[in-house]
């Protein structure tokens, strides 16, 4: 086996974020350059030094325009990773590879969107498809039947998961309640000081049965940026370095965009299992070595099989994990301590990367004790990605 590894080749040295709202009142490019320069200031790196920029699809801020506006000079690495929220950790993965191979020294990963005020993914696809490429023709298997929204595509998988494991709507609710509990004590969260009860979850209206309103993440305006450089340089900068112990992408057999309905087993997330396998292999750690995690929560049901794929519990037993409160404040693995995308904001997962950085630095408003490693996952039901971040040792 090759001795080459991505582990410990790059460090996160800066994070920046705008406020999270339902209407930012300014352009997406303004959000982008605000959060990028905030992250660079957090790191103590001058914007002119940025030579790498990386985002992921559904962001509309071109790398070269961000580069031009922050006054940087020479861009040697730029990329935009496909599959939206599934790529939430992928820019970090790409940045680490670029830094490890000497392609770039200072890479900024960013996501800035007026998702709520400009787009609203939740309204679904309603138009005739204009251009039947192989990729767009995919939706033709669903939209003529009214299966038109991200919630509906996830709900189909969630129902089968419930059937096979015995998980219930209340179990999904337990994920939501714990996230809103963390959001309630996070002043940056949109739902700051607004906790919910399981009863309120159960009384919230159906969006796509078996998904209720409080199973669905917010729609948000805002921007987040993450700065990476080498661990050597990181040790001379302002912040405590956060080391990338593992970074990975994953897509698996018969992978579809949100609708992997055709596999023999439909209630698992093999692409997330593939990410987990790589992350544990790179980092050399086990689930017991992870103190907190950001588990992608566009919709609550997919949080459960992610816990299983990462080995925090056995197959089909995530329902027991959340019934025991292991995922909540004070539990064995507090997840989404920023409030998640249910409670803080839906910035397509990059705000979760920022929270994992704060947990490793020891600066989260909902700090978990003695964090050595934090896990971050990206969008589920789609080709995905993940990270293990750790303290510098």
């Amino acid at each position: 086996m090759s001795k080459k590894t991505l582990a410990n080749q790059a460090a996160i040295v800066g994070i920046g974020a705008t406020e999270f709202s339902k209407d930012s009142g300014r352009s997406e490019m303004q959000l982008a350059v605000e959060c990028v320069t905030m992250a660079l200031a957090d790191a103590g790196i001058d914007p002119s030094e940025v030579d790498g920029l990386c985002t992921y699809t559904m962001d509309h801020n071109p790398e070269i325009e961000v580069h031009r506006l922050i006054g940087a000079k020479e861009l040697t690495f730029f990329s935009r990773v496909h599959y939206g929220g599934g790529a939430a950790c992928a820019p970090i993965h790409q940045a680490a590879m670029a830094i490890a191979t000497g392609i770039a020294d200072v890479v900024v990963c960013y996501r800035a969107m007026n998702e709520r005020s400009n787009y609203r993914f939740g309204t679904g696809m309603q138009d005739t498809l204009p251009d039947p490429t192989f990729e767009t023709a995919h939706y033709g298997w669903y939209i003529p039947h009214g299966l038109i929204s991200p919630a509906s595509w996830v709900a189909m998988s969630a129902r089968r998961y419930m059937h096979e494991t015995g998980a219930t709507s209340e179990d999904f609710g337990r994920v939501s309640v714990a996230s809103r509990d963390f959001a309630a004590t996070n002043p940056a969260a949109f739902f700051y000081d607004k906790p919910i009860t399981l009863e309120e979850h159960q009384n919230s209206r159906w969006i796509v049965d078996p998904l209720r309103l409080l199973d669905c993440c917010q729609e948000s305006d805002g921007g987040v940026a993450i700065v990476l450089t080498s661990p050597e340089r990181a040790r001379d900068l302002k912040q405590k370095p956060v080391i990338v112990r593992g970074a990975a992408q994953g897509a698996c057999d018969d992978q579809q965009m949100m609708t992997s309905y055709y596999r023999k087993e439909m209630s698992r997330l093999p692409e997330m299992g593939l990410v987990a396998k790589q992350l544990y292999q790179q980092s050399g750690i086990t689930p017991e070595d992870i103190q907190t995690a950001v588990i992608y929560d566009h919709f609550t049901p997919f949080v459960l099989p992610q816990l299983e794929e990462f080995g925090f519990c056995d197959r089909g037993e995530a329902k027991d994990f959340v019934r025991d409160g292991h995922h909540a404040r004070g539990g064995r693995l507090p997840i989404n301590t920023h409030g998640g995308q249910l409670g803080e904001a839906y910035i397509h997962g990059l705000n979760g990367v920022a929270e994992a950085v704060r947990q490793v630095r020891g600066t989260s408003v909902n700090q978990v004790n003695n964090v050595e490693h934090a896990l971050v996952t990206a969008g589920t039901g789609v080709p995905t990605s993940g990270l293990i971040l750790g303290v510098d040792v």
Binding site: G122, T123, G124, M125, Q126, D127, T128, L129, P130, D131, P132, T133, F134, T136, A137, H138, Y139, G140, W141, Y142, I143, P144, H145, G146, L147, I148, S149, A151, S152, A155, M156, S157, R159, R160, H163, R205, W206, I207, V208, D209, P210, D254, Q256, T259, Y261, Y262, M266
Partner: protein, 148 residues
């Protein structure tokens, strides 16, 4: 119906039809539910594509499905309410007797009566009688059946 009047009737979104999937939509026009079949190894596949993932053959034909299957999963869509769909709108993931699965709207059943395991049969559905386009919906044939 005049073109102007037709334009005012909310229509279901239409699929994007291309060289890789047109056989499926052409089949529905003739009341046939077709499954792509590898001519080299015989594997069935849906959604269709130009290469067999099992043997890499580019040669394929189709199998006419018997039209019967069971509900493998389902949802009831409440929001967003989009005409002309029923609200709530029950939509199934159908496992055909031949083994492949496909998504289809469910007919003749209330949303709260749908269960995994119920048997279904295909209905070739046209929004207007003279439509040159059809989709495959499914009717639940035994509401009392449920998966073990």
């Amino acid at each position: 119906m005049s073109e102007a009047k037709r334009a005012r009737v909310p229509r279901r979104p239409r699929p994007g039809i291309n060289r890789d999937n047109s056989f499926f939509w052409e089949g529905l026009k003739e009341d046939k539910l077709l499954i792509q079949r590898c001519q080299t190894c015989g594997e069935l596949r849906h959604p269709p594509g130009p290469m067999c993932p099992h043997c890499h053959s580019l040669e394929w034909d189709t199998l006419k499905a018997c039209g019967r299957g069971t509900i493998y999963s389902y949802v009831n869509l409440h929001h967003p309410a989009v005409p002309p769909f029923a609200n709530p709108n029950p939509i199934g993931l159908i496992e055909l007797e031949e083994g492949t699965r496909l998504v289809a709207g469910l007919l003749d059943i209330e949303a709260d009566e749908v269960r995994i395991g119920q048997p279904v049969e295909v209905v070739f559905y046209r929004e207007q009688e003279d439509d040159d386009h059809a989709i495959a919906l499914f009717r639940v044939t035994d509401k009392s059946a449920e998966a073990a």
